[in-house]
Amino acid sequence: MTYQSNIKRFFDGFNIVIFTLILLFLYIPILILIIYSFNDSKIISGWSGFTFKYYKILWENENLKNAFLNSLLVASISTIISTTIGLITALGLENRYFKAKKFIQGIIFLPLVMPDILMGISIAMLFSFLRFPMGRMTVIIAHITFCVSYTIIVIQSRLKGFDHTLQEAAMDLGANKTKFFWKVKFPIILPGILAAALLAFTLSLDDFIITFFSTGRGFNTLPIYVESAIRRGSVTTINALSTIMILLTLFITIISKPIRKMII
């Protein structure tokens, strides 16, 4: 065996080791979390038997259910609005003769690189300056604000691949601009719009920092509730909750696969 092939074998082995370690670090905590959600013990120390107790406690916890419904509500509304704004903005930015295009493009990118905490504090300050009562409304507004950047960018990337000769083809065949949009352009960019909506939904659902700064007393989303519950020390119910969340995410990932397929 040659010297070079020995080196190659060494690096191949090295790669596999690194890869395995990464997978372990990523998934072992999640696995432990799932296992312990069925552990019949108040503290995380050793196995004391199998139970569904914490799932039952969760089910009976009205505050938690409320927080979960709040999260869904905020995510749904902010998704619909931010995707609509994103679509309109992306379409508007297609205009080559629009002079402020570069400037606006820059403003759109800014929230992506800005730390969440900065955005959270600034939104909180704005609302308190305007004496706007903090609560459900402010959280929704804040979520729309940070989701819009993402939806614009995702929809723009889909629009970039759009073949503009199709507009001439459609108009040649008797379609005016409205008909062209609804019969040709919209169906072709729909996968991009759905992808943007999905992204906005997940971003909104798991946002903690910005929600923390923009919510008021009495309006909790799920991440806010989880944080306060952990502070109060009921870790075990959180394990059960997290397990449910993981299954939910898995489900969304699976249904999003056909959508992603359409994009490619």
Partner: protein, 384 residues
């Protein structure tokens, strides 16, 4: 009558004149072709007829209706695009039905007409496929069906075969002619490929810098070019500048002066009588000239010149000889038929006779100001 008429059509982009006051009449059912190099304005002219551009000046009529300011979706014309532009998100059936669906035609009628179109372009088996499952030639057929189903008065074709390979192109050309015969609609075909235009068109217009260099039937344009550009753009030609020294009933004698030592006399027939002492340009197609070591046996009505072979280029269907006659370089094409070859093949630096019939010389009443001919010949001679 539903003739297409262009009256003084002009298109300016800022200060650039893309199309310069064009007048043209195309008869209903005609197969007409715009032929020209890229940037000559042929596509802009087509786009103005389609409605994608509005003329800066002038009017476009179909029959008696002025369509020059109508949007594309209100014009009785349809376009075949170079990249086909099929809608990728709907099936072949829906692509073809698109125009009728937009016009809210009844479903059962749409079905019948799509079926009819699929039959016309021989694509019945593919109707439920999607555009990305078709080959280039098949996409082209669908594009034709999608346009023709709207029963346009004029079908515009913008270099429709440019993306296909040679064999498929020849095949589709015949197919297009068959479709044209079947539907009897006016076809307006834009191309930069001269053989396509010569093959397919009833009449063609050669375009240069926004205006027509010549309009006519293919053989007319090829055999009797009116301008140097027309002569030079279609096929190959030898352009020789000369002065008319004698005019007879049926032919004129032209002296082509290069310098005092070298003078050639060429006899030519004419369609319009030149004036004595007029300086004109002779166009002589390379394939009309015979080349041989011996002079021809028959001499009446022949031009006979002597020269030296400067270069030989093998070209498959023919061999190109570049022969130096006096100070002129002439291009000669000779086919390789065994029946023609009664002698050993010609070699570099050989002295040869060139001869052709008087009627094969053609007078262009223009002088070659840009020296396109001589410069181009120099480019084809290999450096020694």
């Amino acid at each position: 009558m539903e003739d297409l008429r262009l009256v003084n059509v002009t298109k300016k982009f800022d200060n650039f004149i893309a199309v310069d006051s064009i007048d043209l009449e195309i008869k209903q059912g005609e197969f007409f072709s715009f032929l020209g190099p890229s940037g000559c304005g042929k596509t802009t002219l087509l786009r103005m007829i389609a409605g994608f551009e509005i003329p800066t000046e002038g009017n476009i009529f179909i029959g008696d209706t002025d369509i020059s300011k109508l949007p594309p979706y209100k014009r009785p014309v349809n376009t075949i695009f170079q990249n086909y532009s099929l809608f990728p998100h709907i099936s072949i059936y829906d692509n073809i039905a698109f125009g009728l669906k937009v016009k809210k035609v009844h479903k059962s009628e749409i079905k019948d007409r799509v079926q009819q179109m699929l039959k016309l372009v021989k694509m019945e088996a593919h109707k439920s496929k999607f555009p990305n499952q078709l080959s280039g030639g098949q996409k082209q057929r669908i594009a034709i069906a999608r346009a023709l189903i709207n029963e346009p008065k004029v079908l515009l074709l913008d270099e429709p075969l440019a993306a296909l390979d040679l064999k498929l192109r020849q095949h589709m050309l015949i197919e297009l002619m068959n479709i044209h015969d079947a539907v009897g609609i006016t076809f307006l075909y834009v191309t930069h490929d001269q053989s396509e235009a010569l093959n397919i068109a009833d009449r063609l217009a050669i375009m240069n810098k926004g205006s027509f260099a010549q309009v006519g039937m293919p053989d007319d344009v090829y055999e009797r070019p009116e301008t140097i550009f027309a002569a030079y753009f279609i096929g190959d030609t030898n352009l020789i500048e000369g002065r008319v020294v004698e005019i007879h009933d049926e032919f004129a004698t032209v002296v082509c002066h290069t310098d005092s030592e070298h003078e050639i006399e060429i006899d030519t027939t004419y369609h319009r009588q030149p004036v004595l002492d007029e300086v004109i340009t002779l166009s002589l197609r390379p394939e009309k000239i015979a080349i041989s070591r011996r002079p021809p046996k028959r001499k009446d009505d022949f031009n006979i010149l002597q020269g030296v072979i400067e270069d030989i280029l093998y070209g498959g269907t023919h061999t190109q000889y570049i022969v130096k006659v006096g100070a002129h370089f002439l291009r000669v094409f000779q086919q390789h038929k065994k029946v023609y070859i009664d002698e050993l093949s010609l070699d570099w630096e050989e002295h040869v006779y060139l001869y052709w019939h008087d009627t094969d010389t053609h007078i262009i009443f223009e002088t070659d100001k840009n020296k396109v001919n001589s410069e181009n010949i120099m480019k084809t001679i290999r450096r020694k």
